[in-house]
């Protein structure tokens, strides 16, 4: 295949022609989200609506239609995810504090006994984690993470000793360092780029996967207390 087909000199005309509709879509979606927030009195609903505003941002970035744009979507996604995670936690903590200790804090167990919850999770989690490991990087991390998350969510064992928690969190921190080392190797010793590539790819993979998995551990507290 010729080089100009592989990487053309300019952005293809289709993408250029789709730019205006795409940007307008992004703006409209953003506007709808903002409109929703502007008359929203309920904090939780406002939080959900910010998700919509984030979608507008993703469209604006994606509309550029180059490989660079794709690489920029990933940070955008991660930022969205991260902020929703942190803010929802703050919202919950605020409400629990507001209610004080009078609230019945012993959660209800889920009484449903679905077939899928006993057989599917292990199988799906294995598939997802294996696929995620093959993909590596952010994509793989997100997929494997979702797999772990789903698995812990639907398993019935409850209560994580806090040192295990810190252990997993620490492991993901170490993975982050691995990835930093990979990044440095790229610039300091460019001849070892393959090593750097693997360090980076699997560092990020392990990090993201563990983090997402830990979200599942938080979540299980709510869904599977028996």
């Amino acid at each position: 295949m010729s080089a100009s087909v592989l990487v053309p000199n300019v952005v293809s005309p289709i993408v250029v022609s789709l730019y205006i509709p795409a940007i307008f879509t992004g703006l409209i979606v953003g506007l709808i989200g903002l409109l929703g927030i502007s008359y929203q009195k309920n904090d939780l609903n406002a939080l959900i609506l910010t998700d919509i505003v984030g979608l507008g941002m993703l469209i604006l970035v994606a509309a550029v239609g180059t490989d660079l744009a794709e690489a920029l979507i990933l940070p955008g996604l991660v930022v969205e995810l991260a902020e929703i995670l942190a803010i929802s936690e703050i919202l919950m903590s605020r409400e629990i504090r507001k209610k004080g200790k009078n609230v019945d804090l012993i959660p209800l167990p889920v009484s449903l006994d679905m077939e899928v919850l006993t057989t599917a999770p292990t199988f799906m989690a294995v598939i997802l984690i294996a696929y995620g490991a093959f993909l590596s990087g952010f994509t793989g991390g997100a997929i494997a993470g979702a797999g772990i998350l789903f698995y812990v969510l639907s398993k019935s064992a409850r209560g994580v000793p806090s040192d295990i928690w810190e252990g997993i969190a620490g492991a993901s921190g170490i993975a982050w360092c691995l990835w930093l080392v990979g990044f440095l190797v790229f610039f300091v010793f460019p001849q070892f780029w393959l090593l750097a590539l693997f360090l980076a790819a699997f560092g990020v993979f392990i990090k993201v996967a563990y983090k997402a998995g830990l979200i599942g551990v938080i979540g299980r507290e709510e869904f599977k207390k028996e």
Binding site: V110, S111, L117, A120, L128, Y131, I143, L153
Partner: protein, 94 residues
């Protein structure tokens, strides 16, 4: 000749729109989840039309994952509401 338009893309688009309409219009959350499965099916069809089978595979797996998550959440929240209602009624009786 109109049959030319019936290919995997258009069918998926139709399924997507049906799913959308269903999610928006149906009142009960559980019905919405069923329509959501339809939406996901249409989406997977779209990806298949684009010939990215690995993406379609991932989408298919995540389809079921998110459906299950939604189901758990809805059942759980119904339970919570039920309990609240009964406790309120008890209070009223007392």
């Amino acid at each position: 000749m109109y049959l030319d338009f019936i290919n995997i893309t258009t069918v998926s688009a139709a399924v997507l729109f049906i799913g959308t309409a269903g999610i928006i219009a149906l009142p009960k959350p559980l019905d919405k989840v069923i329509m959501f499965a339809l939406l996901q099916a249409g989406f997977v069809g779209m990806i298949v039309a684009a010939k990215y089978l690995d993406v379609a595979m991932a989408a298919a797996i995540f389809d079921s994952v998110s459906t299950i998550i939604l189901l758990i959440a809805i059942i759980k929240i119904n339970e919570v509401r039920q309990k609240k209602k009964t406790s309120q009624e008890e209070e009223n009786l007392a």
